[in-house]
């Protein structure tokens, strides 16, 4: 069995599972945020009316809560949602609630690794599609809707069809000017936004072994854009060290068997990879940066679970050091822990000196909700994950997705720019 099959077999109490088996998997961790939480509360209200008991959660110690989409509260409705969420965690005895304005908080997927909320080998579900991110720690991490999350909160398990696995092998390191974001965009361009649908996307090979844990998180994060059920990387000592340094204990690794089977294997040569962008209006609409359209950009955005981890900010700082931005540029570290490290290591000064506005962690602008949405006809280059019509604001705005290196280089020139071409 491959790693995903082994995790799901263990979680469903079976010796063995095969693709297309339908199982009920016991869940180890579950996350809700300020969008899915109120959604779950609404489901609970409906269930109560149907006479279903919702007085107790199956295990409040396995539940954690983030405030990320609409913080700082965008308006009265989102402020009410935060109050609802706080009452929910209080009433159900959930202790792990990362609150805006009270120390560590941030985007849920970023907290999943920054706070070691999820361990290798675990089944982790969350009320958000980018829950896939956390598979980079060697866990089965999958996004679900409100009804499914409500079911998990009450029953501790959920049904899955065991997915087929696509294996993406990266031979050799990526060049310095190429980031994990470029590689995952390349893959989505090759297999399409439907190419991973219902499947596992597993990443391996010497290039993935060389990658930092944060880069692997970027890879798994955007498996969602290919429609995948989960993204995963087999855990190694780097993952153990990463989690241990964040306070995790009792880590045990699950890895695939030597005779693990995959539906299809794709191979890539690290040295051949180029900086890429995804043009409007789909993450599969890929172009090499040096061949991208010569559009006048209005904004550069470095934020989100995809593109505002510490190493993403470091990459942006490398480009922005001693330079000035030519267009509106916003950098929003994905968690307070990352924000703080960026401050301690001088990154914030580099950003502010370059003319960038640095904001608090939030999903706001990435999903076109608040905190910097785009006007009609505005064009943005962004380290986020989606560029469907209206994703980051007005339905007639446009978003180009890129790595932090490219977004920072483009901020300096006002055009889509390969970092190697900066003077």
């Amino acid at each position: 069995m491959n790693i995903t099959e082994k995790i799901l077999a263990r979680a469903s109490g079976r010796q063995r599972v095969s693709p297309d088996d339908v199982i009920f998997a016991n869940v180890d961790k579950v996350m809700v945020h300020d969008v899915s939480g109120p959604g779950v509360i609404k489901v609970f209200d409906k269930l109560k009316k149907q006479g279903i008991n919702v007085d107790k959660l199956w295990d409040p110690t396995k539940v954690w809560v983030a405030e990320d989409h609409f913080v700082p509260s965008a308006d009265k409705v989102s402020a009410e949602n935060i109050v609802k969420l706080s009452n929910f965690t209080k009433n159900y005895g959930i202790e792990k609630h990362f609150k805006y304005g009270m120390g560590q908080y941030g985007i849920c997927h970023t907290l999943s690794h920054e706070e070691a909320m999820v361990l290798p080998g675990e089944v982790y579900v969350g009320g958000d599609s980018h829950t896939n991110t956390t598979g980079a720690l060697g866990s089965f991490a999958c996004g679900l809707g409100h009804t499914d999350v409500a079911y998990v909160l009450l029953n501790g398990k959920i049904w899955f069809k065991v997915p087929q696995t696509l294996y993406f092998k990266l031979n050799g390191k990526l060049p310095d000017h190429v980031m994990a974001k470029d590689f995952i965009l390349k893959i989505i361009g090759d297999i399409s936004t439907e190419g991973g649908a219902y499947k596992t996307m597993q990443f391996g090979g010497s290039g993935i072994n060389e990658m930092s844990v944060e880069s692997r998180l970027t890879m798994c994060n955007m498996t969602t854009e290919a429609g995948a059920k989960n993204g995963i990387v087999e855990p190694d000592q780097k993952v153990v060290d990463y989690l241990t340094s964040r306070g995790a204990k009792n880590i045990s690794l699950v890895n695939g068997d030597a005779d693990a089977e995959y539906e299809k294997i794709y191979e890539y040569e690290g040295s051949e990879m180029e900086p890429l962008v995804a043009k409007p209006f789909s993450p599969e609409n890929i172009a090499i940066v040096r061949e991208a359209p010569s559009v006048e950009l209005d904004k550069s955005y470095i934020g989100s679970c995809t593109g505002a981890k510490y190493e993403d900010l470091e990459a942006a700082a490398k480009v922005l050091k001693g330079r000035k931005v030519k267009i509106r540029t916003e950098i929003l570290p994905a968690s307070i822990s990352i924000y703080k490290r960026a401050m301690e290591n001088g990154l914030l000064k580099i950003f502010l000196d370059a003319g960038v506005t640095v904001g608090p962690p939030t999903c706001g602008a990435c999903c076109g909700a608040h905190m910097g949405v785009l006007a009609k006809d505005e064009i943005c280059i962004s380290t986020t994950n989606r560029n469907f019509p209206g994703r980051m604001g007005h339905v007639d705005s446009q978003t180009y997705l890129s790595s932090p290196l490219v977004a920072a280089a483009s901020a300096v020139t006002g055009k889509i720019t390969d970092p190697r071409d900066l003077k």
Partner: protein, 161 residues
């Protein structure tokens, strides 16, 4: 199950156009319905009628896990979405929450059924009858678990064996 078809002849209708991100804070189902399909078809809310179906291409509902998407469609009156294929979370949410039926159709049905056609979906026979054009198409049968959850009326009413 009879109804009239609203057709969007394109692939990859994503959750950002089904219900734009700015409405994720809204959990009032009736209010969500007023913004359904706003990112693609601002007239949707005024033209949709109770019992209508949406017909579309590949990868319907791709994007986010927002349950707001099937909720907004269902509370607009949509009883089923017929598409060449579905994104997995939209499909799961539609079935597990018992909001609407996600029905996989073939190219023949997709090309042949027009906006405004009245169709009758016969789940037992895995068949779609086009009453306007007097034609019949196959639909892909639901997998065993999906069929059982639909029959039970959603995940919470489903009793695993």
């Amino acid at each position: 199950m009879k109804g009239n078809v609203i057709k969007y002849a394109r692939d990859n209708i994503d959750t950002d156009v089904i219900i734009p991100g700015q409405y994720l804070k809204v959990h009032d189902y009736a209010e969500l319905a007023t913004h359904a399909m706003e990112g693609l078809d601002p007239d949707f809310h005024s033209k949709v009628k109770e019992g209508d179906f949406i017909l579309s291409g590949r990868n319907f509902g791709c994007g986010s896990s927002r349950e707001h998407a099937p909720i907004a469609l269902s509370h607009s009156g949509i009883k089923a979405v017929l598409a060449l294929s579905f994104a997995r979370i939209f499909y799961r949410n539609a079935v597990d929450g018992a909001f609407l039926l996600p029905i996989e159709i073939d190219q023949d049905a997709y090309s042949d059924i027009s906006e405004g056609d009245q169709i009758d979906i016969d789940i037992k026979a895995n068949q779609i009858n086009n009453l306007t054009k007097n034609k019949t198409y196959k639909m892909k049968p639901f997998s065993e678990i999906i069929g059982k959850i639909i029959e039970a009326g959603g995940l919470f009413k489903y009793k695993p064996d």
